[in-house]
């Protein structure tokens, strides 16, 4: 019989590595993070060698925790011996009791205590002193246990760049000896905003349609959802956190339907809605309901729009008027040509093609969007809705003449063929 019960859950090592790094860094300080990462790596390798032939022990997490903790304690004891030698030579150094730290680590590694360390780590990785991209890379490394090569593939950056960013970030946090603390009440809102932005962008990095598919990118989405969920379950979340989780879940529900068997992207209007994950949509709806507040954020409106798509049986039956209104609220919150573009399409879908054209024309007159191929796609879509196939084809051809990545090119060409066949 296969020892399927003995097999590890997916991403076990990755998540245990993240748990250990969070707890050990909390106990022994950011300045030791490199040492901690090395010891965690050693513990995981040791586990592999011990388990590959005899099978996985009953409590694999406890096994890895035990090894990693002892490795790091041994190493710090040696460090303390060295420090004592320095102290004897006349330089004074306070001697913290390692036994006290050890029992703290044991306590923090308990299942119910773990989220606290992870949350502290989230706030450190999203430290305001770091650049946004670095925050994302550091979060993926430290909190999601991704390797450098996986991060570089996921973020479409050269490995060397990712490595350097992470090293520099760790170095600057270590030099400042940033503590793994939760922000104080007066700072919480501000710090939480940064965390939200990072989780939002992290999800988008995984979700973004402009790069084709790779399993690693779906996993980045999963990790963003996992961290957002962790935050939502904690006392530190705000209504905005819950709306963000709802938004991510609505998108996640459609992940499987958005690519065909060759990995090519399928647009919302062409997706097989049977493939959408009803269970995730339901969960998303309850988080959105749970996120009610007098001061809705962009996540609330974006989630509300995503929900309208998710609950509609087809494109035509979608409540486009509500979507137009949600975009108006979004534009009030933050001026964005992308919102305006999407709003124009929703207007067209709602039947108001005249208004849609004039909004798109305004965008063409502004500098932001002029060279962006999606603007021409939006024009094409509205022409299509008006039944003007020739004008639609012309707009798609204009879009093709602009800078597009290969997979977007394929998508545009597919659209063009379809139009040519119908016209």
């Amino acid at each position: 019989m296969k020892q399927s019960t003995n097999q590890l859950v997916e991403h076990f090592f990755r998540h245990e590595s993240a748990n250990l790094i969070a707890v050990l860094t909390r106990a022994f300080g950011m300045r030791r993070i490199d040492l901690i990462e090395d010891m965690v790596q050693v513990a995981i390798l040791e586990a592999m060698h011990a388990w590959k032939q005899r099978g996985v022990p009953e409590n694999p997490a406890a096994w890895v925790h035990h090894v990693a903790k002892n490795r790091i304690l041994d190493s710090i004891r040696r460090e303390k011996t060295y420090e004592k030698a320095i102290a004897l030579s006349g330089l004074s150094r306070s001697d913290q009791s390692i036994t006290a730290q050890e029992s703290m680590v044991d306590q923090w590694l308990e299942k119910e205590e773990l989220p606290d360390s992870l949350l502290r780590m989230i706030f450190v990785c999203c430290h305001p002193s770091l650049e946004r991209k670095t925050q994302i890379a550091l979060t993926l490394k430290t909190l999601c246990g991704f390797g450098i090569s996986e991060i570089s593939r996921g973020l479409l950056l050269p490995s060397e760049t990712v490595k350097k960013r992470i090293q520099r970030a760790k170095h600057s946090l270590a030099t400042a000896n940033v503590r793994l603390e939760l922000p104080s009440d007066d700072q919480l809102t501000q710090r939480l905003d940064v965390v939200h932005d990072v989780l939002y962008l992290m999800f988008n990095e995984g979700y973004s349609t402009s790069h084709g598919t790779e399993p690693i990118r779906d996993e980045i989405c999963e990790e963003a959802v996992r961290l957002c969920h962790l935050l939502c379950e904690s006392p530190y979340s705000s209504p905005s956190t819950k709306a963000l989780l709802a938004l991510q879940l609505f998108h996640a529900a459609r992940l499987d339907a958005r690519t065909d068997e060759n990995g090519a992207v399928i647009l919302l209007e062409d997706q097989d809605r049977e493939k959408w994950n009803r269970c995730l949509i339901g969960t998303a709806q309850s988080w959105l309901a749970n996120s009610k507040t007098d001061q809705p954020t962009r996540f609330h409106f974006e989630a509300a729009i995503a929900m309208q798509h998710c609950i509609s049986p087809n494109v035509e039956a979608t409540d486009w008027n509500s979507i137009v209104n949600f975009y108006s609220r979004l534009i009030q919150l933050r001026d964005s040509p992308v919102y305006e573009l999407n709003q124009a399409i929703a207007m067209g879908q709602a039947g108001d093609t005249g208004e849609a054209f004039s909004q798109l024309q305004n965008l063409r007159d502004s500098d932001d969007m002029k060279h962006y191929f999606l603007l021409d796609c939006a024009f094409a879509r509205i022409h299509e809705l008006e039944g003007n196939t020739k004008a639609a084809i012309d707009s798609y051809l204009t879009a093709l003449s602009k800078t597009v990545v290969p997979h977007e090119k394929t998508l545009l060409e597919k659209k063009l063929r379809k139009l040519a066949d119908s016209g």
Binding site: M1, L8, F13, I44, M48, H49, W51, K52, Q53, G147
Partner: protein, 119 residues
């Protein structure tokens, strides 16, 4: 039927910089390969891993100690006991093992029973 010992050597270096995910994949490959062998009956004993390090007592009674592992790619990292009709079959099975793929080797040695082949 003849019995053989698979002696696994090396393959440590390649994993040193692997991500947790890659390490887990390698381990899963091992578990699956061994499960298949146990199920098919040609693995008598999956054996065990051997910890890196340790000591060697030399001819002149001097002792070589410690980090043997980090330098030598030929360190034995584990063993298994196999029972198959002949060496050719054993070689084929060893080729399927995760060892060559993870940068290590499998040494195959036949066991003797009072100096004779196992019947």
């Amino acid at each position: 039927m003849p019995k053989y010992m698979f002696i696994y050597r090396g393959g440590q270096e390649k994993l040193k910089f692997a991500s947790p995910e890659q390490i887990q994949q390698v381990m899963q490959m091992w578990i699956d390969w061994i499960d298949d062998g146990v199920e098919a009956g040609w693995i008598l004993d999956a054996g065990d891993g051997l910890k890196p390090g340790g000591a060697i007592v030399n001819m002149d009674l001097t002792v070589t100690k410690d980090e043997l592992s980090t330098e030598s790619g030929s360190l034995i990292s584990g063993y298994s006991m196999i029972e198959v009709p002949d060496l050719i079959m054993a070689i084929e099975l060893a080729k399927d093992s995760p060892m060559p793929n993870s940068g290590g080797t499998v040494e195959i040695r036949e066991l003797t029973h009072n100096g004779k082949q196992y019947e």
